[in-house]
Symmetry: C2
Subunit: 486 residues, 2 copies
């Protein structure tokens, strides 16, 4: 659907990652800007990846007894006010409807920035006994947060997400759910996006407004900035109390339940594009790539035979299994040169490329090349074994991308115990700095002011140590991951 025959140039990732990213998003047809500032149009190629995430995630949550539902977009402002910390946290970000059906409304209506309040207002009527628990609801929907600075996918005024909301009899069960959701997010990032994440808990200042604890998976972008990948909240009993949710327990007493909520958004797509892409464009991990194999006919003397052989190859590969459901596409537009078509396939990050000319027709063999350097391209016979080999190569690329990103993460995660060094690194190469912090908000604020770095996460498996706060020098027990963040 692109403007055709224009050479698509994008800046080098290594030179200016920000310009590269913006150009990539537009040129690879991932998104366009919407007419209202801060909104984007998610184009089919990127939306197909989101549909794949939905399919994977729906399987997991449904197997766990979570049910999909749909709650309204519009929330009366009064509902939002029921939990004090919550309204304080979200008020600056609200879009407010004041006119409906041509008339000024008596009560302003808020466009959902998240759905805790509207859901829990109703959960209170659904729950009366321990038999109604656990209640596990999820919805896929759009969310609006009025952002000052926006960036395609990574920070937009409207985004798509899933939000899971559960209610439990005990805190232990709720925490179990929080950790389970967190692990689903880890799997989306690590097993599908091929992006390693740091898993842990947020500081009080960074946690969800109104919640008790926020858990997060944090990824590191190529420019050394962190991306909050997905969050899972132990809401404690705060919302249950505010919304008067109670249940009769097994002994006949009245109890307040424990709640969780957890969300993964289209923001994650921005991380996916940013991490793996290179100077030639997008690089998509095979498990989420909408197109896994690009076949490029080389036109010349005997086009009919070349096209026939291309189709034969496609037919063989289409039988690959469910792990890599992306399409096999023959790029056969005769009006475009071979080079143009290959560039386009690279820009779009298609994992494997197969050029097909008379040489291939005659030999019955094809050369299959990876989208990235560093892996051995292969000469394969077009026979019944082909799809098996293609599947193996796709898995090899998937593993390679993860390993590369993992190495990058490790190389850019440093234990730092001197604040001067901390400041210097944050000014230059950035990355995750693991530093002792006394967990006082005062130090956290100062560090943010002076270095733009925030506490991203205290790892789930963090070891208790005897340390000194990187800022104030007072006693500190844990190293936290600090980073500048998207």
């Amino acid at each position: 659907m692109a403007k055709q025959f224009e050479k698509k140039d994008i800046p080098k990732k290594s030179t200016n990652i920000s310009e590269w990213y913006t150009a990539l998003v537009l040129q690879a047809e991932l998104a366009d800007y919407g007419p209202v500032r801060g909104t984007i149009i998610i184009r089919p190629y990127a939306y197909a990846i989101w549909e794949r995430v939905q399919q994977i995630f729906n399987e997991w949550i449904k197997a766990d007894g979570v049910e999909n539902a749909y709650f309204p977009l519009f929330i009366p402002h009064a509902l939002l006010e029921k939990e004090k910390e919550h309204v304080k946290g979200f008020s600056p970000e609200l879009a407010v409807v004041t006119v409906g059906g041509g008339e000024k409304l008596n009560e302003p209506i808020v466009v959902r920035p998240t759905s805790e309040t509207i859901m829990y207002n109703t959960f209170a009527t659904w729950i009366s006994s321990w038999r109604d628990l656990p209640l596990k609801i999820n919805q896929w929907c759009n969310i609006v947060r009025w952002e000052k600075r926006t960036y395609p996918f990574l920070r937009t005024m409207e985004f798509l997400w899933q939000e899971g909301h559960t209610v439990h009899e005990t805190e232990k069960e709720a925490v179990g759910m929080v950790i389970k959701a967190l692990d689903w997010y880890r799997r989306i990032y690590e097993d599908y996006y091929a992006i390693p994440v740091v898993i842990g808990i947020k500081s009080a200042a960074e946690r969800f407004a109104g919640g008790k604890d926020t858990y997060t998976v944090e990824a590191l972008m190529p420019d050394g900035k962190a991306l909050q990948g997905g969050t899972s909240h132990n809401l404690g009993q705060n919302f249950a109390k505010a919304f008067a949710i109670s249940f009769q327990d097994r002994e006949g007493g009245t109890q307040t339940p424990w709640q969780t909520s957890w969300g993964l958004s289209t923001r994650s797509l921005g991380g996916l594009f940013l991490v793996h892409g290179d100077d030639n464009g997008l690089v998509l991990p095979p498990k989420v790539a909408p197109v896994t194999v690009a076949i490029y006919p080389i036109f010349g003397k005997d086009d009919a035979n070349v096209l026939k052989f291309s189709q034969a190859i496609k037919n063989r590969i289409d039988k690959k299994g469910n792990t890599f459901p992306g399409k096999v596409v023959i790029f056969d537009d005769v009006e475009k040169t071979f080079g143009w078509r290959v560039n386009e396939g690279e820009l779009k990050g298609i994992p494997l490329a197969i050029p097909v000319g008379m040489k291939e027709v005659e030999s019955g063999n094809v050369r299959v090349s990876y989208r990235v350097d560093g892996l051995q391209n292969e000469e394969l016979a077009v026979n019944t074994e082909l799809s098996k080999h293609i599947e193996r190569m796709l898995q090899t690329l998937q593993d390679h991308l993860f390993k590369t990103a993992k190495t990058f993460l490790e190389e850019h995660t440093r234990n730092v115990d001197s604040y001067d060094e901390f400041k210097e690194i944050m000014r230059t190469k950035r990355g995750f700095l693991r530093s002792f912090w006394c967990e006082s908000e005062a130090c956290e604020i100062k560090i943010k002011e002076e270095t733009k770095a925030t506490t991203r996460v205290k790892q789930l498996d963090a070891q208790k140590e005897k340390g000194k706060c990187i800022y104030c020098g007072k006693k500190a027990m844990y190293r936290w991951h600090f980073a500048q963040a998207y």
Copy 2:
């Protein structure tokens, strides 16, 4: 999740269909009212049906080359104004955001009532040559129209839908697309919802604001009112001109393309519930039922064996094919009586019921009963043939529901040539009245004022006849379907 152990009573459908419907929606856990007037919460049981519709529809459109995407919720008011008829049609129904991020906005933002304007504003940048056509985009999203009178599912301020938008080189191709989409809607209604529809074209007054022709599938509800089931619009070139969409044709000239849009919404679920339900609750057609078979253990002397046999039955039936993907559920809550559980299953419209007690364990046979009367229940052996027989029974019920609804439609579709009779029928039993109409808006308005009936549709295969307008007596060539409508 229901309030348990409460006997769920709903009014009789035959006595007061409106009270029956509202009670059914709440008691069968299809929806709850949202806190903002006119909004509803779509509960998991109803949402599962919508997910099924999405799955079916996505298969069809993707096979046709339609791609899913996502356009923003927010539309600048100025965009809506670009097509004059369009803005006139939708202005009275708009929800308007005037405050964002705590500040009054300079330009009001409209919450999408449909996405023609925001999409076509961007399509203009995507299309430059005939090679970019056809462009076929679909999105699944939420839509807001400020309705004065609302009714769960059937008329709500916010609803979910798919909206397909295509751009073509020729009008012929566009009309082909319009008819194809219309046929997808017919298939959803007839083959899945088991609701027969009347297929045809809308009058000028009833057509989509800004479009050239609107096609529709219209269903008849049990109270004799019509439901507009889904609409498919030939937009002509109106929007293309308003949004300056043009393309270079095959000869190098500049042309204005032809457009279509078509939508099916969660409104259709209201029709589904309304048509088949009865005094005992919901009746769901097997092809879209989230649960197809309910197994009810009869507890007594040997519960372990009864449960074991119930599970064995479930395991056998779970192998049924993709036509009926709904779950097989064992309703085994020992704290509820057998009668309570069966009532609950009936209320939820589960197609088939299998009670399992010691008699069944010992004989190895079960009695499978239909949710509705009029079909022969069956005694089946629990062996390798069971799933095949269950599948056959599900198909029998699916066909029976369609046939019953078809008979109702036929019995309530009358050729009427006297306006007195027309008025009398619209005042009493209603239904579709096929009457000659001169196609002047004046008569249409008068008929609506005097009978509340509107022109619903002129059938695609309507025969040209020599008739006289039912209102003014002037020459009229076609019978139109008139009805009061939801």
